[in-house]
Assembly symmetry: C2
Homo-oligomer: 412 residues x 2
Amino acid sequence: MKKASVISVGNELLDGQTVDTNAAFLGNEMMCLGIPVAGRFTVGDDVDQIVRALHLACEDTDVILVTGGLGPTADDLTRQAVAVFLGVGLHLEEELLDQIKVFFTHRGVRMPDINAVQAYLPEGTEAIPNEVGTAPGILGRRDGKLIAAMPGVPSEMKQMFGRSVVPVLREACVGQAVVVHRLRCFGAGESAIAEMIGSIMERDRNPLVNCTVEYGIVTLHVIAMAGDPDEAGRLAEVDVAFLRNKLGTLIFGTGEQTLAHVVGGQLASMGKTIAVAESCTGGLVAKMLTDVAGSSQYFTCGWIVYSNEAKIHELAVPADWLDTYGAVSEQVAIAMARGARRMARTDYAVGITGIAGPSGGTFEKPVGLVFIGVDSEEGTATERFQFSRDRQFIRQRAAQTALNMVRLRLGL
Amino acid sequence: MKKASVISVGNELLDGQTVDTNAAFLGNEMMCLGIPVAGRFTVGDDVDQIVRALHLACEDTDVILVTGGLGPTADDLTRQAVAVFLGVGLHLEEELLDQIKVFFTHRGVRMPDINAVQAYLPEGTEAIPNEVGTAPGILGRRDGKLIAAMPGVPSEMKQMFGRSVVPVLREACVGQAVVVHRLRCFGAGESAIAEMIGSIMERDRNPLVNCTVEYGIVTLHVIAMAGDPDEAGRLAEVDVAFLRNKLGTLIFGTGEQTLAHVVGGQLASMGKTIAVAESCTGGLVAKMLTDVAGSSQYFTCGWIVYSNEAKIHELAVPADWLDTYGAVSEQVAIAMARGARRMARTDYAVGITGIAGPSGGTFEKPVGLVFIGVDSEEGTATERFQFSRDRQFIRQRAAQTALNMVRLRLGL
């Protein structure tokens, strides 16, 4: 199997001014192409350092991806370094210069002289088109190894990688097809899910089942390789079916879907609407729902009722319930959900009340205690949760959990 | 000046399952200690790869920080690699074993046998205590170079680095004092700020003025080095005064403060309160305000009035204004702010209406158009903004801008 190296160029990566998200993106993409990244070098804006990394990368990998150092200023040195590494000179590509000029003309400005340097390429290499910025990439070859240098700006790099580098890599891996499915899970942790699915996550298996976690969402990547796409597809399907069977409703979506996407999509297709009443999550559930483009179709109104007065005044939570049960209680979560549904005249509503901390906890109602109520025509349900860790985590997890309760109520 | 290398160990870093935030953290911390990171190697869970990186790192740097690979499982190989690199064997440290056992006892469980491996150290090295996990770090020396291996879990790494590694590094840099000030700016971009402050950001200057950007917040790090802390402090103060003079109210805070911290702190100290009425930001301003612990002191209530009906019904926005001026208008932003302040009976209120996109824009009211109104005893002010890029960016920037308007209204 072919292997890749990534060389990330930029002083800002070494100083910690920038987190190298490009490297993680390329790591996952290359894994999905069947050319896993075997090593990564991060170097400063320095020709010698870049050349040294290119030599080291060529020692044991077949594809070398470089990001950064292609800008127009004096500290952008990847162009020179690739030329030194290949033992060639730089020469001006008139056609490239015209393209860069056109890029500026379209924005109504003259090309600054400084940008002309981006039209120079190491001899014997090709330009990789950049449709969203001025810096073209560089595609070179040495000793049967492929070198692709791309800009460091993530949006430019991603676009260039997907459109122009992936096809070249696929060609280099002819006879090897890779099919990737992603299953998105919520409601159990990484290790619990790993236990449920057993040895399918072993490292040298095909399909490879990889797992990433972000904000409580566990994503399982099923990466199948075979001689042709049909066979790879069949292999992947077997594992996806196995995982769906084992994990059931823990799986809420596929690809890049969020809980808000899934909930929103279902509400839209049913022609139903939702409202939220938030206390401890302070607007986060509404924020998540409205992150989705087109959410105005099903989301009309939300309340952040932080104080008792707001709960009473805005959502008609009975004042004596607040006295009797406390603001953080099953009863108040229900009253908030019912109040929101009635006031906003929606089909569904969620009420969330809890203690996000760090202070405000008691022995009976500790920090992290959250009640979530869901109200709809079918009735009202409420659940009690005890989250741990810090304020941000508790709020994040409570908001995700609320969306998950709605998802399950919608029969998803 | 001494220089450092960072070696990040873990297959999950190469696969893109994990973004290497440790490396950025250490990059910034080492810069602030006056031992900048000159290169970084990311390697898989493989003894040969780790040893190779240790050799490469030792070639040209004085301090080598390793993260990851100290766990108890078969793929955690940093311990062995450090031993191979130093040319020594591993031996069991009874005292360490007892500490690990105590760690588990305190959690009411017996130590799994597998964890005993964490009590082994390369001969001639010291254990670095881990107060939040089971994996002790390893502190070794070779040819006058310092090697510190730490766990990959960010919380454990950060704690171990700050408490145990920093003092050793300071000792290694005796006679060199570093003082760091951070100024947080909002309201102008990185390049505009760079232009305003001129040559102070040059790379080889002392103090070094570094710049990081996140969600529109530009942070200037003033890093002063001198023979003693007083002198370093004086150097830093000069630059801080210069920057404050140049940037004026663009600077909203210091250290790690957010706009919500600064606004909240001022409201709390004045005994004043705030409410929000959000349309296009969908709860994000409320979320930011309530991210701050203790925000219930000044934040009582918020509305997400996504639909016209909600704007009319909840906040008494005049229906004919919606018809005449449209939901995205100066007039409606003002009416929302006024409605929120009256309904919530707060001292301040913000109203935000705009088009977050990607659809819904017109020639006259394009995607990214946002009106923000601030209402208080002093009167009502409204501003029109045209943000660009995508939905997430527009929402984020609109929310930050709303908080910034409140900050300026509060005289900060």
